[in-house]
Symmetry: C2
Subunit: 321 residues, 2 copies
């Protein structure tokens, strides 16, 4: 394992897809197909990554093929990094199905299929000669799912932590500066830490999707949790006075997500100020409660193109030869 | 991977060996051979673990076989958990060689062979059909080596952290209670956190061995670091006044080990009081500096029988079928 040069087909060319292309050579893999939302390029001998990204930067079509041609082309691993969608999780789900039905490996950063249609994806993977991995869907570069796999899901009783860097940045700034939500949000948007429409992050949806995936992994997809099953509360309504009160009491507020075999809860929680879970800024942390080895804490950058691509390449290193 | 029932031969029956036996059934594996320092038991259909441990508890020989017979017996994975020895790393090294030469997988918790004779062990593994894994040698249950493998050693520039729970327990107690070293050591010995002869822990040797193994992993065993190459300073000579001064300055002292491609350094270091590395009590932490994904922090219980056995079973889950 680990040193096999792969032929990768990449669907999605946002920040993560770009990073996957940029780092492919460093990891010793070829990109034999790539598609964005409007066009695609294919070369079974390996595409010239710089040319593709140059065309993308200039607003030109990246090639004259389409997504279907990429999926039907020559590759051993599909890297699915189109934007996360809810409900039917399309078009991501269809991409995953098309590749698994062709007995290709599939590595995802797209949370939709694993959060909204886990049992279906699992069944497709079970019938495929291809393997399915999705480390990048939970905490980007933090090795959460690989660790659960190695320990055995049955040896983990719960996973909890801070799983959204934007919400955590806003909460830590509000706490340290005594500023209100709207003010800090505007600042975070200026810095590029929060999106123009921040609702996915600040309402807890993004953290909830990650926790739904964790709950599905812990249960093996039975019953198959979706976002609808999660109890979710965001950070939008927290007044600065609540954060002040917490500080006076030696505590602090974080948006904590928790996944167990029973389900998923996400919401603002009071935690010890210097406790393990009180990461600051855009840091993420996941704490796994184990049956035989206490609590295991994994923290790092939970978002970012190169960070997410790093998790994708870690997954690829684990694929069978 | 992961769900294969294995036949395990276990050499060493201290706290870790016991835990390996106790948890074998939960992980779905059979123990087909086990040896302590005076006797051994073999059964290719799987030994009755409770009987073995009962004999051990009563001070009886655990069987009428010997270590050689276990090594020549029927098993697919050798679990080497005899005590760590320095220099020639015997008898651990000989056990590892005997199993690899028979094309068996080898999983170690014994640090000696990987710290003192890494290139030789690596060469034996390269020539063997068996695989070599040793997650349990660094931070017990903390998934350090598996993460480095997944990321690729070339993508990690340094590993540093708190790698000895005994020294960390003593330092945190000295800091919080203002007590001197001798006093806290006696307390730690009463609690069973420190051994009667604590020199291995408090002089930094144990942390240094772990860092030597990390440096060997980062370099692939070229040049092949040993304990002799490490710059090591322990915690024995730290006066309580130094800890007080650090506290007044918002900092604290920890025994920090660092491994890079250039080598290994272990010693007391001033770090921020609420910083990531300032774990308390017997907690361990390892921070990996990555090329593309910032710093990754992994913390948890760095010692203990069940904790170390958990890492051993995580390694076993990663072995090829």
């Amino acid at each position: 394992m680990g040193n096999v040069g792969r032929k990768l087909a990449v669907l999605g060319l946002g920040a993560v897809g770009r990073s996957v292309l940029e780092l492919a050579d460093a990891y010793g893999h070829d990109i034999t197909g790539v598609a964005d939302s409007t066009a695609a390029a294919i070369d079974s001998n390996g595409l010239a990554v710089a040319d593709i990204l140059g065309r993308k930067d200039r607003g030109e079509p990246i090639g004259d093929a389409d997504t279907e041609a990429v999926l039907a082309g020559e590759y051993d691993t599909l890297v699915e990094v189109t934007p996360t969608t809810l409900g039917d999780a399309q078009p991501g789900f269809g991409h995953v199905r098309a590749a698994l039905e062709r007995d290709k490996h599939v590595v995802l950063a797209n949370k939709g299929p694993m959060a909204e249609r886990y049992p279906e994806v699992r069944a497709l993977a079970d019938e495929s000669d291809g393997e399915l991995r999705f480390e990048a869907t939970v905490g980007a570069t933090i090795p959460v799912l690989g660790t659960i796999q190695d320990y055995g899901p049955e040896m983990i009783t719960a996973a909890r932590g801070v799983l959204n860097g934007t919400a955590n940045f806003i909460l830590t700034r509000m706490t340290h500066e005594g500023l209100d939500y709207e003010h800090v949000l505007a600042e975070a948007q200026d810095l590029g830490v929060a999106e123009t429409d921040p609702s996915f992050d600040v309402e807890g949806t993004d953290a909830a999707l990650k926790c739904v995936i964790l709950a599905n992994v812990l249960t093996g997809g039975e019953p198959g949790f979706t976002l609808d099953d999660a109890e979710v509360e965001g950070i939008v309504d927290i007044p600065p006075s609540a954060l002040e009160l917490a500080t006076e009491d030696g505590r602090t507020v974080r948006l904590i997500g928790e996944a167990t075999r029973e389900g998923v809860r996400v919401g603002p929680r009071l935690i010890p100020q210097n406790g393990t879970l009180a990461v600051t800024g855009t840091q993420n942390i996941v704490q796994l409660s184990t049956v035989h080895a206490g609590e295991l804490n994994l923290s790092g950058r939970g978002a970012g193109g190169h960070e997410t691509a790093t998790a994708i390449y870690a997954d690829i290193a684990r694929l069978p030869e």
